[in-house]
Amino acid sequence: MQILDEFNKDIDRLSMDLRNFIKENVVDFRKKGVVLGVSGGVDSAVTLTLCVQELGEENVYGLLLPEKESASSSTPLGAEICESLGVKYEEVPISPILESLDIYNKKDQLIKRACPEYDPEVHKTSLALPDFLDGGSINVPYIKLAKDGEIVAQHRLKAKDYLELIGLQGVKQRSRMIVQYMYAEQMNYAVCGTTNKTEMVLGQFVKYGDGGVDIEPLADCYKTQVYALAKHLNVSEAIRKRPPSPDTWSHYTSDQDFYWRMPMHSIDQLLYAQEHELPMDVIQENTGLPEEKIIKALKNFDVVRKNTEYIRATAPVFTLNGNY
């Protein structure tokens, strides 16, 4: 059995079923279309294409939501796909929201505490975890300083600084959510999310940020399946070849650097193998990894899944059950 073949199987049918899902839910919610944040990445490109195919370009509105630390390629790639699909779109920079909350300044001060040599005029920054398959299975995040595209220093963060940093960074996705709902309610549209299954399982999204949406068409498709959909839907090569990233650090930080800690195909094959309880010899044959690393990775997924339950959970409700 080849797991990658499973990811590429029945892509045409999957594409049609996703389109039906989008239509059914938009109709059920009694909305007239969808608003989508278009990042220039593959998830939003695929979701946008499916929405346009199913709902028509006149019922889809694209929002480009860059900020000061977004990659320079994000807005042009987002605009390009909106234009190629004939979708109306608007660029709404979220930097003023972030500046009003002093996010950039607070982040600079925090990075300076961790990295005394940090100079915002000179360095770009990113947050990364050690590669999992390379032996570093301890989950200690590092702030990295880059100069002219090269990493020149890295420092560990104190727990309270890490927590503050996560809170500051999350304002980016949560600001985007606010803007998307402002437009969606004005147009009587639903907000369409772009989170994929790899991100969903690992809790790789911001609660009430990019996770704050009305529908999630891709949330049961692994990232590798999203790439297969992108190819099937003729998403441009420039978008398909771009390393996936939340695009929230001035030094471009890929999902592999911070969330996955291993290549995309490896993590998706391992997650699929765990989901389908595949035997060890099949996992080894597919991933080319030794048994010891596979066992470690699968156990690590269990830990991550448990630690991120809170992110996926909706607020628990105390029910009266007719007792009061």
Binding site: I138, V140, P141, R156, K158, A159, K160, D302, V303
Partner: protein, 84 residues
């Protein structure tokens, strides 16, 4: 050594979501048992640094050293010995 072990247990009880009455093996994995998560690990490193005036070097950030009460205790003793 016993005092360090007790300090670590107190720290884990105070900082994590552990039930005060819970008992576990000194060699049990703290992450797999859900006793410590990635933020708890950073808090542990800060605690070691502040309480024992030793910094855990990069090459010692391993599961053997940080994922069990026994491993953490041994690590602190080793770092204190190296310092003196």
């Amino acid at each position: 050594m016993q005092q360090i072990r007790e300090d670590i247990l107190d720290f884990l009880r105070a900082q994590s979501f552990m039930d005060n009455d819970i008992h576990f093996d000194d060699n049990e994995s703290l992450t797999k048992a859900g006793i410590i998560d990635s933020i708890g690990l950073l808090e542990l490193l800060d605690y070691i640094s502040e309480s024992y005036s030793v910094e855990v070097p990069e090459d010692m950030l391993t599961p053997d050293n940080l994922d069990s009460v026994q491993g953490i205790t041994n690590l602190i003793i080793k770092l204190k010995d190296e310092r003196s």
